[in-house]
């Protein structure tokens, strides 16, 4: 939450806690430690930001929860239950890329847990400069800054951490159980619902920060995808048949990230790997791994518990350890 909107966040939080009942201007002014006139000004600002707030002279203020809630930093902040992830939210109606903005903020010293959210991206990106479709009003595009204090050679552990958190969150809102495609694509019925791009700023022996860029297809309809993506992309809406509140989804995601980050710090990589494997459904399947100038085809044996490298047994009988590349899972019967 940006400091200048702290009062709006607190008002929305209090009105939400009051459910559908009215809260007096006096009570709000006491809770916030500001005058009733100031409360009125903050209410006006919250209305401008899309919140439907009713006012009755004798009773006070009430949040009309039946109206569509806006998707912005205040709405997300007022629903947060985390200690540090998302406590500093930078929300933008449009950005080139949330990862680029988070990187910029990271270099300026933004605290751990700082989260960038954009309603749309003009240059949303995936691995190796690929495009991530980022229309407005439908999905979640967020990048979180982590400062784990680990050497760079362990930083890829965070790839699996973010995959577990996203998969677990998608599971909460989807009628279909998600699976992960190595290492961190999240699929519903074999189609991509979320993607993660991890970028790091480091010295040879110290990570300055890692940016976890997460894109989730939430309310987008499959017909809105470009033709080339339709066979391989899906959204929560396509599976559940209903709209998901993006702010609620975001809050659950941040809680899950924080939970697994604490597990990682206290107990190390193994519990993450175990949770990740719970979503991994490629063992025993035929996979094709395309990397820069090679193609490996074989049966997926699983992953190396030490670092999460993909293990593929080729037809020649060799066991290949894959640390980067695109994995394609052959469907049964093909």
């Amino acid at each position: 939450m940006q400091a200048k909107e702290a009062a709006e966040v607190e008002i929305i939080r209090l009105l939400k806690a009051g459910k559908d009942s009215y809260i007096s201007g006096q009570a709000l002014s006491a809770a916030l430690g500001v005058s009733r006139t100031a409360v009125w000004k903050h209410i006006e600002k919250a209305r401008e930001m899309g919140f439907s707030i009713e006012a009755l002279p004798s009773k006070g203020y009430r949040l009309n929860t039946s109206a569509d809630a806006p998707f912005n930093g205040i709405e997300v902040s007022s629903g947060l239950e985390t200690g540090f992830i998302g406590r500093n939210i930078c929300f933008y109606p449009s950005l080139d890329s949330t990862n680029m903005k988070a990187f910029e903020l990271g270099r300026q010293g933004a605290p751990e847990g700082t989260a960038v959210i954009a309603d749309s991206q003009t240059g949303g990106k995936g691995r190796l400069g690929r495009r991530w479709e980022s229309p407005a009003g439908a999905n979640l595009y967020t990048s979180i800054i982590l400062r784990p204090g680990i050497p760079p050679r362990h930083a890829h552990n965070l790839t699996f951490l973010s995959a577990v958190a996203v998969a677990e969150t998608v599971e909460r809102f989807s009628p279909v159980r998600p699976t992960v495609k190595w290492p961190n694509d999240i699929l519903l019925d074999g189609k991509k619902v979320a993607g993660i791009l991890m970028e790091m700023d480091s010295e040879p022996d110290r990570v300055h920060f890692v940016v976890a860029g997460i894109g989730v297809n939430i309310n987008i309809k499959v017909t809105a995808f470009p033709d080339r993506l339709r066979p391989m992309a899906t959204s929560l809406y396509e599976k559940s048949g209903k709209e998901t509140n993006r702010a609620v989804f975001t809050c659950v995601l941040y809680s899950s990230l924080e939970k697994w980050y604490k597990v990682y710090r206290e107990k190390g990589f193994l519990p993450l790997m175990e949770a990740w494997k719970g979503f991994f459904a490629s063992v025993g399947k035929t996979v094709t791994v395309r990397s820069f100038d090679s193609v490996i085809e074989g049966v997926c044996l699983g992953v190396d518990d030490d670092d999460g490298a993909l293990l593929v047994k080729t037809r020649a009988g060799a066991i290949e350890r894959v640390v980067s590349g695109d994995v394609e899972i052959k469907r049964d019967g093909l």
Binding site: R127, L128, G129, R130, P151, P152, R153, A155, H156, L158, T159, F160, P183, N184, I196, L197, M198, E199, M200, D201, S202, E203, P204, D205, V210, S291, F292, D293, D307, G308, A309, A318, I319, R321, V323, S324, G325
Partner: protein, 153 residues
């Protein structure tokens, strides 16, 4: 025996319980030993068969190069992690640096990718790229030399 053979043996041993392994050929002797504390296979140690390598042999050239590096104030930029080496941010984009590029402290030299985590490796001093030691898209080990950069005085 070349690095490919050593890598193949290394990979094979990772899958087994063998703790010590030695092979001798015409061109040298290779000994691999598994660490006891961490249980991990140590870096392969390559031993030359004769006490002093003949002038002009691979080892001798390597040694000469190492001395040259030291003498000319050339720093070696190494890989901070196991991964894949990329010289550009995307296949279509131009390389971050070329041979002879003048680089500033903080400038990105390359990207190392591991498990979809992209690490931009930055130069930590002002200088000139005098050698690029790895081809685009190739796997690199932790600590593997990537660039030689001549430091500006």
């Amino acid at each position: 025996m070349d690095i490919k053979d050593i890598k193949a043996i290394y990979k094979f041993l990772r899958e087994t319980d063998i703790v010590e392994f030695e092979v001798e050929g015409a061109d040298g002797k290779l000994r691999l030993k598994r660490g006891t504390a961490a249980g991990a296979l140590q870096q392969p140690v390559f031993e030359a068969p004769s006490p002093a390598p003949a002038p002009g042999s691979a080892q001798e050239i390597k040694k000469e190069e190492a001395e040259k590096v030291k003498a000319e104030n050339i720093k070696v930029v190494t890989s901070p992690m196991v991964g894949t080496f990329y010289r550009s941010p995307s296949p279509e984009a131009s390389s971050f640096v070329e041979l002879g590029s003048i680089v500033k402290s903080g400038q990105t030299l390359c990207i190392i990718e591991a498990m979809k985590l992209m690490n931009e490796v930055e130069c930590e001093f002002n200088g000139k790229v005098v050698q690029i030691l790895v081809d685009n898209g190739q796997p690199v080990e932790y600590g593997e030399p990537l660039f030689h950069v001549e430091v500006s005085r």
